[in-house]
């Protein structure tokens, strides 16, 4: 069973308490953007087999959004961090790099 630690309230929550919110760190495009940019933001997804950065909500807990790094091929959780982060924390990236030497970075 998938367990994530909510960085907002510190609770180690299992997946029935959580709601998955899809890929994290998407750059948003709004009015005035090209069709291609808007399509990329709204629909195209990296959907990697391996390290994935994603949004989660502690739906049946504190109700807050947060971000998580997880491996979609093994379900290993590397860590969670606040939703306000513009990019994954450096120590988390270093931890992932150590565990997955072939990893090409979060972008």
């Amino acid at each position: 069973m998938l367990t994530l630690e909510c960085p907002c309230c510190g609770v180690k929550a299992e997946e029935t308490e959580l709601q998955a919110g899809g890929e994290a760190h998407l750059k948003r495009y709004g009015p005035g953007s090209s069709d291609e940019e808007f399509d990329g933001y709204m629909f195209s997804r990296k959907n990697p087999r391996g390290v994935h950065f994603e949004r989660w909500r502690h739906a049946y807990g504190c109700g807050k959004w947060f971000l998580a790094a997880r491996c979609t091929a093994t379900l290993e959780v590397f860590g969670t961090y606040p939703a306000q982060s513009k990019e994954p924390p450096a120590e988390l990236q270093a931890k992932i790099k150590a565990k997955r030497p072939g990893w090409e970075g979060w972008k």
């Binding site: 069973m1 998938l2 997946e15 029935t16 709601q19 998955a20 899809g22 890929e23 069709d35 291609e36 808007f38 399509d39 990329g40 709204m42 629909f43 195209s44 997804r45 990296k46 959907n47 990697p48 087999r49 994935h52 994603e54 997880r70 979609t72 091929a73 093994t74 379900l75």
Partner: protein, 416 residues
């Protein structure tokens, strides 16, 4: 490449000689250096694409590449339901084409796929669902897909083991497609593979694609664990792993991969001769020819490539089905498994050209691809051979950019 036909006479003849004369159903060749067309993925959709390329367009210099074993992905992991009661016209067209091809598939392929048009019910268990399904029935009647709305008394007559009184979700009626049913999923893949092999195509198993090569925006070939293979056209038909292959080719798809689970009970005596889907409570059930109750549930919410899902989804599915079918409460469950389904935003597939010239994708079938296999292969083969297909036209991957969604969240709301 002539293959011996299967028939009652062949069985009688083999019975006289200790069944030692049966030949391999398909060859296991080493890959050639170059093919006209390479299809990645020897599941139902990939093999059907290859089959109709040969049968309808005479293109037989084709290889079908499979990283595992033939039909070992979602083709062998679904709950074998066949139906075409979708809402939108493009969906009804392709799913009905598929359903009609299933009717003659055993004869066409000379392989018994055990198609059983036993009838299919989608239960209406809330007022909203009743309204949604009635709308689907009206749409189907306009599309020429034979479905009708039936009242609870008729549901009870068709499914004596059902509890129509609730308490939480009473059965308020059902959408009934009498021509829907099931087929033997493995046999569909095996039958297509045998027919492809007989046409001279190479089905290459245990061969994983490691790279896609293109030059000047046009595909030239693929790299695999069995060496490089060149091709003029490349079809990516790999369901849950479509995004991985697209990444190798250098583009992204509007796809997310999720785990979907199913389970079967111990075999029991015949008790239900139709397929029943209860979408409000996320469960659906049919009885296999072996007597097992075949049960499917909902998908997990998070991206996953592990072919195993979360236990609580199984628990929810079984809990809900016990309320609708009280007699299954004492059944032991024999096996449970998961598959990786490729979900699009509008729950409709992609049969499409891609940004790379010569690469085509057929994916995004989400939770309900098995029923579509022959229609999907038919349309994909036409697209690859002619550059356009009326059946596939609306399923372009660029429809999201244009806002031309084919919204099937009601028809495909739960898995199947």
């Amino acid at each position: 490449m002539a293959m011996k036909r299967y028939s009652v006479f062949a069985i009688a003849k083999e019975a006289m000689s200790y069944h030692q004369g049966w030949e391999r159903a398909w060859r296991a060749p080493a890959p050639k250096r170059k093919y006209d067309v390479v299809i990645v993925g020897a599941g139902g959709h990939g093999l059907a694409t290859a089959y109709y390329l040969g049968k309808n367009y005479g293109i037989t210099n084709v290889a079908i590449i499979e990283k595992g074993w033939l039909g070992g992905g979602n083709t062998g992991r679904n709950t074998t339901i066949i139906r075409s009661n979708y809402l939108q016209d493009p969906s009804a067209a392709i799913y009905e084409k598929a359903r009609s091809l299933y009717e003659t598939m055993s004869q066409d392929l000379n392989y018994n796929v055990m198609f059983s048009p036993r009838g299919l019910l989608m239960l209406g268990q809330t007022e909203h669902e009743v309204r949604g399904y009635k709308r689907t029935v009206y749409a189907n009647n306009l599309q020429g897909v034979e479905t009708r709305w039936i009242e609870p008394a008729e549901v009870k007559k068709l499914v004596p083991i059902i509890n129509i009184d609730g308490p939480r979700y009473p059965v308020l009626g059902a959408l009934y497609q009498a021509r829907g049913g099931t087929a033997r999923h493995d046999a569909v893949a095996w039958g297509y593979a045998r027919a492809c092999s007989a046409m001279g195509m190479d089905v290459i198993q245990q061969c994983e694609v490691t790279g896609v090569r293109s030059e000047g925006g046009k595909v030239v070939g693929i790299d695999t664990t069995k060496g490089a293979i060149d091709c003029d056209k490349l079809g990516l038909v790999v369901a849950g792993h479509s995004s991985v292959l697209a990444e190798m080719a250098g583009f992204r798809l509007p796809i997310e991969s999720l785990a979907l689970q199913a389970l079967v009970s111990e075999p029991i005596k015949p008790c239900m001769d139709v397929v029943v889907m209860a979408n409000t409570v996320h469960g659906y059930m049919s009885q296999s020819d072996k007597g097992e109750m075949v049960i499917g549930g909902g998908t997990d919410g998070f991206n996953n490539y592990t072919q195993r899902g979360s236990f609580h989804h199984i628990e929810e599915t079984v809990r809900a089905l016990i309320e609708t079918f009280p007699m299954i409460s004492r059944l032991k469950m024999l096996r449970q498994w998961g598959g990786i389904v490729d979900m699009t935003g509008d729950r409709s597939p992609l049969i499409s050209k891609t940004p790379i010239d010569g690469i085509f994708v057929n994916c995004g079938w989400g939770t309900g691809g098995f029923k579509a296999i022959p229609g999907s292969g038919w349309a994909m083969a036409e697209l690859m051979a002619r550059g356009a297909s009326p059946l596939a036209e609306e399923f372009s991957m660029y429809r999201f950019r244009e806002g031309k969604f084919i919204d099937e969240s009601v028809a495909a709301g739960v898995a199947h």
